[in-house]
């Protein structure tokens, strides 16, 4: 029993001593392991990216992000020079206080899709420009979520001046900009002219919509669009509903009912709505 206890005691002591020592070593210089990874991946060519690694460290990019990029890049047979190319825009993004994670993710996407490094670099450059526009629209106080949502909407084709119009609205809810920009991008994708889209979104915000979600707001437009109503008709009907202080859910219920079958022709929305009934489903229905 005694030799066993003695062995156990020594083992525990060794573990206790090794555990904090190992943790300390890892925590004290994670960049050392990043550089080590670069060295083992690229050998003498790793010198080409040492400068970028130092810049990334100074810019405050989390080392695990760079480590991830390095290992995926070397796994995809990108050269040290390629890695340096990808790191440039990420470092610039971090220096401008943009979330580096989004840029690293985009680089990883490009690597996964087998895109050549110059193409990934140009995509990252465009992303950086989009984030710059988003920051300009929102101002320096914008939080990360709002910045990312605005940038995503710009990437999805919403024009900066349209986004600016939405950002200038006095909204007390911090999530409104996120949902409004999502709604605008979705409406744009549905084929709504952006001038109409912004009109609709503005009416929505002023009536208290788009504070916590944009789905039902966009769903009404999307379903009405599928029924064959034009963007102008949909905007008019929704605006009219909002101005009368009636919930859009009424409109949604009505559209959901219409979408499934070719029922009797009835007015879309309220009786004084600018839209008139469109029987059945699909575009270009009757009644016009």
């Amino acid at each position: 029993m005694k030799p066993f206890l003695s062995l156990l005691l020594r083992l525990c002591l060794a573990l206790l001593m090794l555990f904090p020592a190992g943790s300390y070593a890892r925590a004290s210089d994670p960049w050392a392991s990043v550089k080590q990874t670069a060295l083992s991946a690229y050998g003498p060519n790793a010198q080409e990216i040492h400068q970028e690694l130092r810049s990334a460290e100074n810019a405050g990019i989390p080392p695990e992000q760079v480590m991830n990029l390095l290992s995926r890049a070397s796994g995809a047979a990108l050269t040290a020079d390629d890695v340096a190319r990808l790191l440039h825009p990420i470092i610039r993004a971090k220096k401008e206080n943009f979330p580096s994670e989004s840029f690293v993710d985009k680089a990883l996407e490009g690597i996964a899709k087998g895109a050549p490094a110059p193409l990934i670099e140009s995509v990252l450059d465009r992303k950086l420009a989009t984030y710059g526009s988003a920051a300009e629209i929102l101002g320096k106080t914008a939080d990360r979520k709002t910045l990312e949502a605005t940038a995503l909407s710009l990437e999805r084709g919403v024009r900066p001046e349209i986004m600016k119009e939405i950002a200038s609205l006095d909204s007390r809810s911090p999530g409104t900009m996120v949902h409004a920009s999502q709604a605008l991008a979705d409406l744009t994708e549905l084929g709504f002219p952006q001038e109409l889209g912004v009109k609709l979104v503005t009416a929505g915000i002023q009536s208290g919509y788009l504070r916590s979600e944009s789905g039902s707001f966009v769903e009404i437009a999307a379903r009405a669009h599928k029924l064959g109503y034009s963007a102008a008709e949909i905007t008019g009907a929704m605006e009219s509903q909002l101005k009368r202080g009636r919930p859009l859910s009424d409109l949604l219920t009505e559209i959901r009912g219409k979408a499934g079958f070719g029922g009797p022709r009835s007015g879309f929305g309220a009786s004084d709505s600018s839209l008139r009934g469109r029987g059945g489903q699909g575009r270009g229905g009757q009644g016009r």
Partner: protein, 229 residues
Amino acid sequence: MSSEKTNRDPSGTISTLRSEETLDRGDGIVPAHGGRTPDHDVDEDPALASLGEMFRSLDDLEPPEEFTSHVMTRVREVQRSLPVRLWIALTRPRTIRVNLAQAFAGACIAMVLLLVAGPALQRVPFGGVPASKPAKEYLVQFTYRDPGAAAVYIAGTFNQWKPEEIPLADVSGNGVWTATVPLKPDVYEYMFYVDGHWKSDDRAAYYKDDGFGRKNAVLRLGNSHEALS
């Protein structure tokens, strides 16, 4: 101060002892035995003295030979049920002898376990709900239809575009590949990775140009998803 205590004497009458009479010797110091020895008490108390005399006069009797076996037989006859025996075993006070080396080894093991398992316990408290994650998480089922596909995966911003990390399964063999992925409320972009080629989800609600010549499907989870479902 004069506190009084009642005492029942052998004759059955109640006598009253005054504490300062019995304990205090007058110098303010109260001895541990109260200033009187048991012998002294017996000698001075006539009732106790007569009781002692009575015990001394009793004959010295030996128990009968079969006494012990009789007692043991009776004891054996008392068969306790299992729960009672278990309860007795659990509640019986026991003495555990531990030396310093054993105690130290135990403490070391406890510390190592705490260091190793501590972070994991912090992440997943009892009940299985991760503490760092919001309580809300969506189980999203991705579906891809291709009867001719041999291997289908899903990749996107939720897994840093690792192509072969989340496989889809064609359970019924009819070319409908599915995978259920737990995701937090957020906006995600994704594509399918089919037999080494990237494919867009042609049933997605929204898309975004990926910049590399393809279209990522856009998936929004949160309140908007609830409204759409």
